[in-house]
């Protein structure tokens, strides 16, 4: 399995897509999370949110839903919707490896969110395709080629 790596250029593209989605969908916040629960990008009103915990729980939720899908012989359930009194959550899987989460309130609607998510998903898929191609190029420099055993030891000194 390839590790997830994020570079400056793709990160900027992803942030642009998330910011536009936040605007176009009238969303409160947009989170992009990898399937292992690491937050990749966020847009909108996230200052009051515990995005680390939200990312981990969402990934757990998506993994559990994926488990249910496979028990039912479905490939995957690509979307989930949670309806609350104040906040609604739309969750979808993009490019089979990242999770797009939209938080929205009464200023938006499920229909609008779904419509905007569709376009954003296509754009994000193409960014992740190019990211994957870049990671698989053997010539791409890695931070780990610079790190020494001593650097690692220093991290664990009391």
């Amino acid at each position: 399995m390839t590790d997830m790596v994020m570079y400056e250029e793709e990160y900027r593209q992803i942030q642009e897509v998330c910011a536009r989605l936040h605007r176009d969908a009238n969303a409160s916040a947009v989170l992009l999370i990898d399937k292992n629960g690491q937050l990749i990008s966020e847009a909108g009103d996230t200052g009051h949110l515990d995005t680390t915990s939200l990312s981990s729980l969402t990934a757990g939720n998506v993994a559990a839903t994926g488990g249910i899908a496979s028990l039912l012989k479905e490939k995957e359930f690509t979307g989930q919707f949670h309806e609350g009194e104040q906040i609604n959550v739309h969750i979808s899987i993009v490019a089979q490896r990242v999770i797009l989460v939209i938080l929205f309130d009464e200023r938006s609607s499920l229909g609008l969110v779904r419509l905007r998510v569709r376009r954003a998903s296509d754009e994000l898929s193409s960014v992740f395709d190019s990211l994957l191609a870049k990671v698989q190029q053997p010539s791409t420099p890695s931070i780990f080629s610079e790190i020494t055993d001593e650097d690692i030891d220093n991290l664990f000194k009391d």
């Binding site: 997830m4 400056e8 488990g67």
Partner: protein, 195 residues
């Protein structure tokens, strides 16, 4: 599966605490949470039953400091130990970078340790991992109890590869950080080696 972000200069890794029911996986995380500087930790989440048995997982995000300008963040997870939660354990192992096997040292839990260890190997294998090839350490927990099995005996059963091992009493914290440091170091060394 680690996540390396060159833009925010972060290295993120996932460590899973595995072991039989009531062996002390959650207690390990609770001790780490209690003894870590607030700046270096996020909120600890426990998805547990009403009787405080882990239902899905516990989660604790930790920062360990910087290497060459990159923040190293570790996400610690526990699995539910009870036998019938196997489907959940498989999900939590997805994308794992390092494993801590927490054994319950009490003699009467020997069979439960072996069963859980076999289950770990099996579940990793199902997802294309080989326990012998991933960063992995063993913790012999509950060493303060009177009815514990000798370490040599436990080693034969659940540490045949002789990976780094630690005696522990998770309730007092003895051995808890030694175990965490050892697995975190192995994970980073493996990431370096793999490039």
């Amino acid at each position: 599966m680690s996540f390396i972000n060159y833009s925010s200069r972060e290295i993120n890794c996932k460590i899973v605490y595995y072991g039989p029911g009531l062996c002390g996986k959650t207690t390990n995380l609770q001790y780490i949470y209690a003894r870590t500087n607030p700046d270096a930790k996020g909120k600890m989440i426990s998805l547990a039953t009403e009787t405080e048995r882990t239902l899905f997982f516990d989660f604790l995000p930790l920062s360990l400091g910087e290497i060459r300008g990159f923040k190293t963040r570790f996400h610690l997870y526990t699995v539910p130990g009870q036998v019938f939660y196997d489907a959940s354990r498989k999900l939590i192992l997805k994308g794992v970078d390092g494993v801590v096997f927490v054994a319950d040292s009490q003699i009467e839990r020997t069979e439960a340790n072996i069963e859980s260890f076999d289950n770990l190997e099996h579940n990793l294998y199902e997802q294309g991992y080989d326990l012998a090839k991933i960063p992995y350490v063993v913790q012999y927990n509950k060493r303060d109890l009177p009815n514990v099995a000798p370490i040599a005996e436990l080693r034969d059963l659940i540490n045949p590869e002789q990976v780094p091992e630690f005696e522990a009493v998770a309730t007092t914290g003895y051995g808890v950080f030694d175990t965490l440091k050892a697995v975190a170091k192995l994970v980073l060394t493996e990431l370096k080696r793999g490039r």
